[in-house]
């Protein structure tokens, strides 16, 4: 069976094949444009996802805290300083936190809730004394807020009785290892002897030095918060919905609710700027590719004037001629996007082999998501079609007699 193309695609393909050099040139231009767009988009999407992932690797998406005593903060007068200081130290619990936790857990978009009792303490070992943050958690719940298991260097992320999980920097500073003992002392004078059950490296030296995980009840009793918690950590399904969910929770509870988007506003602004500049680059490339396709097709219409006249004399309608050139534009776009995607894949391979993190792992993965290829194909084909519009209309309007007479 021979492949029998209908009139318009048949003639479009033949015209493209006939104008070999021109066709190769616009294909190259289109493929280059598509490659740049796909490569940039894939790269920036990946890098942004990595940055967000790194930031969220050590913090909750949303945190609920007791209402801040704003009057204490608002007064910035030296005369009141002595009056304020002792009260600012006091830890407060979230009122009826179990109800708040239940409300949060039932709210759509929230996937995990973990209560925490936290406060400042000193970790002591021999002569060494380090300021730390005592974090009383239910490790099963907290795992779903921060993926602690992935960060464990030794032991497990589990606490019970006096067992604690500390960071690798603190362990080094105090000169202790797994199963060693350390004492924590609190500003209220209470103290406790802990045993190291696990050591983590969360990728942030400051946190490695400060975080000391203990059981929730132990932290509650040490911090004078019987049955209370100082914060509720939440995980949400869509990280960019975090602020909206935080606002909803704030409305429902009247408590202080912060999302990672607020605490990392600068980072988000930077990411947004990056997206805007990426969009600008993409728009310019699209315009240049469109102009390239259009100008080559305009030239082709002039060159094919005689053929168009012949086809019209043989009964081809204006609409048929229009189709012939629109198909040429879309074909160039479609084929260009396939070649361009392959090029982008090659670029990603090359650059991921060249650019590496300090630890030798690739800065980004060489994989190309199918959705970007589909997007590129759709965009390029529509751009091809759109750029062919003006040349195609010129071709359709051409006077067949003029073409045949000359």
């Amino acid at each position: 069976m021979k492949l029998r193309l209908p009139f318009a695609p048949l003639v479009a393909l033949r015209f493209l094949r006939e104008g070999r050099m021109q066709t190769l040139l616009i294909l190259a231009g289109t493929a280059g444009g598509v490659a740049v767009i796909v490569f940039l988009t894939q790269l920036i999407t990946q890098l942004q996802a990595q940055i967000v992932d790194r930031v969220l690797g050590s913090q909750a998406h949303v945190v609920i805290r007791p209402l801040e005593e704003t009057n204490l903060r608002a007064i910035d007068d030296a005369a009141f300083a002595t009056l304020i200081e002792p009260r600012a130290q006091r830890l407060r619990s979230i009122d009826q936190w179990e109800n708040v936790a239940r409300l949060a857990a039932d709210m759509p978009g929230i996937t995990a809730v973990s209560p925490m009792a936290t406060g400042p303490a000193f970790a002591l070992r021999g002569q060494a004394s380090k300021s730390v943050a005592l974090m009383g958690v239910d490790t099963t719940l907290y795992r779903r807020i921060v993926r602690m298991d992935e960060y464990m260097l030794a032991g497990r992320f589990a606490v019970e009785g006096p067992r604690a999980v500390i960071g690798t920097e603190l362990a080094k500073d105090l000169g202790i290892g797994l199963e060693d003992k350390l004492r924590v002392m609190l500003p209220n004078g209470r103290d406790e002897l802990l045993q190291v059950g696990g050591i983590f490296d969360i990728g942030n030296k400051d946190l490695n030095r400060r975080w000391v995980f203990v059981t929730l009840p132990l932290a509650q009793s040490l911090l004078d918060l019987p049955g209370g918690v100082s914060s509720l950590d939440l995980t949400v399904a869509d990280i960019f919905e975090a602020q909206a969910i935080a606002d909803r929770l704030k409305g429902a509870t009247g408590l202080t609710v912060d999302s990672w988007m607020q605490t990392n506003a600068q980072l988000l602004a930077a990411l947004r700027n990056q997206t805007v500049s990426n969009n600008l680059i993409r728009s310019f490339v699209v315009i240049i590719v469109a102009l390239g396709i259009a100008s080559v097709l305009v030239v082709s219409v002039v060159q094919k004037q005689k053929e168009i006249g012949i086809l019209r004399a043989m009964g081809a309608s204006r609409a048929m001629i229009l189709q012939v050139f629109l198909i040429q534009g879309s074909l160039v776009g479609a084929v260009g996007s396939v070649i361009g995607s392959l090029l982008a894949f090659g670029l990603l391979q090359t650059f991921s082999a060249i650019y590496r993190n300090a630890d030798g792992t690739p800065l980004f993965s060489a994989q190309l998501e199918p959705r970007f290829i589909v997007m590129a194909a759709l965009v390029a084909t529509s751009v091809g079609l759109a750029s062919a519009l003006i040349p195609a209309r010129r071709a359709a309007r051409m006077d067949p007699v003029q073409a045949i007479r000359s």
Binding site: K2, E307, I310, M314, G315, P400, I404
Partner: protein
């Protein structure tokens, strides 16, 4: 001779209307061509032969007067129908063959049918091959026009003009750039098809020898029909 294929009454054509170079090229022609008629159109250069042929071929619209094709007044037909009528009922042969260089001889012959049917088919290909065989070019069916001689190209063009068995064949100096022997061959081909299919033919020629071999000779001078006589 039975029905008229085309009928012109008071047909005029003016170019560049409304400009200082406005010129009336055809000045009110009355003419009809019957089924099966084989007529020559002669006249000096610039007398309006090509213009008249293009108007009869529905490639150009007249400025005034009336043009009927198979009894239908073409002035009232919409563009789409004119295009269809042109494709299915009229076959053109031009002086410089005007084949599509990107397509093989066979595809060129199939093209009118591809346009009329929307797509090629095995049946169309078989018909086109028969036509190429009839003009003696079966062996060259898959060559591109550029690989054929001038006479062969013109044979392909004739095969193409006949592809849809049109009721009217219009040929504008079909032998104009061919040597005498080849010109005779081409002329004979047209004549043969005219006899077989009973279509009307109007052939522009500068060659009095060939004109004499037609049924009728129409002479155009300065946009007027000077005489219109049957040959002896």
């Amino acid at each position: 001779m039975s029905a008229a294929v085309i009928e012109l009454t008071g047909l005029t054509k003016t170019y560049n209307i409304g400009t200082p170079v406005e010129t009336e090229v055809l000045h009110g022609l009355d003419l009809s061509l019957m089924e099966g008629e084989f007529a020559a159109l002669i006249g000096p250069s610039g007398s309006g032969k090509s213009t008249l042929l293009n108007i009869i071929g529905l490639l150009e619209r007249p400025t005034g007067g009336q043009l009927s094709f198979a009894g239908r007044n073409t002035a009232t037909l919409p563009e789409a129908e004119i295009t269809q009528l042109r494709g299915r009922s009229i076959g053109f042969v031009f002086q410089f063959h005007h084949l599509l260089p990107a397509f093989s001889a066979l595809e060129n012959v199939m093209m009118p049918a591809i346009i009329a049917n929307g797509a090629p088919s095995d049946a169309l290909e078989a018909t086109a091959l028969q036509l190429l065989d009839a003009v003696g070019l079966k062996a060259h069916a898959h060559k591109k026009p550029g690989e054929l001689s001038g006479g062969q190209q013109q044979r392909v063009a004739i095969a193409r003009a006949l592809a849809l068995r049109p009721r009217l064949i219009l040929a504008d100096e079909p032998t104009g750039n061919l040597d005498t022997r080849t010109a005779d061959d081409i002329f004979a081909l047209l004549r043969e098809f005219n006899r077989d299919s009973h279509c009307a033919c109007l052939i522009v020629t500068h060659d009095p020898r060939l004109a004499a071999r037609c049924d009728r000779v129409i002479r155009l001078v300065d946009g007027n029909i000077a005489d219109d006589l049957p040959t002896a």
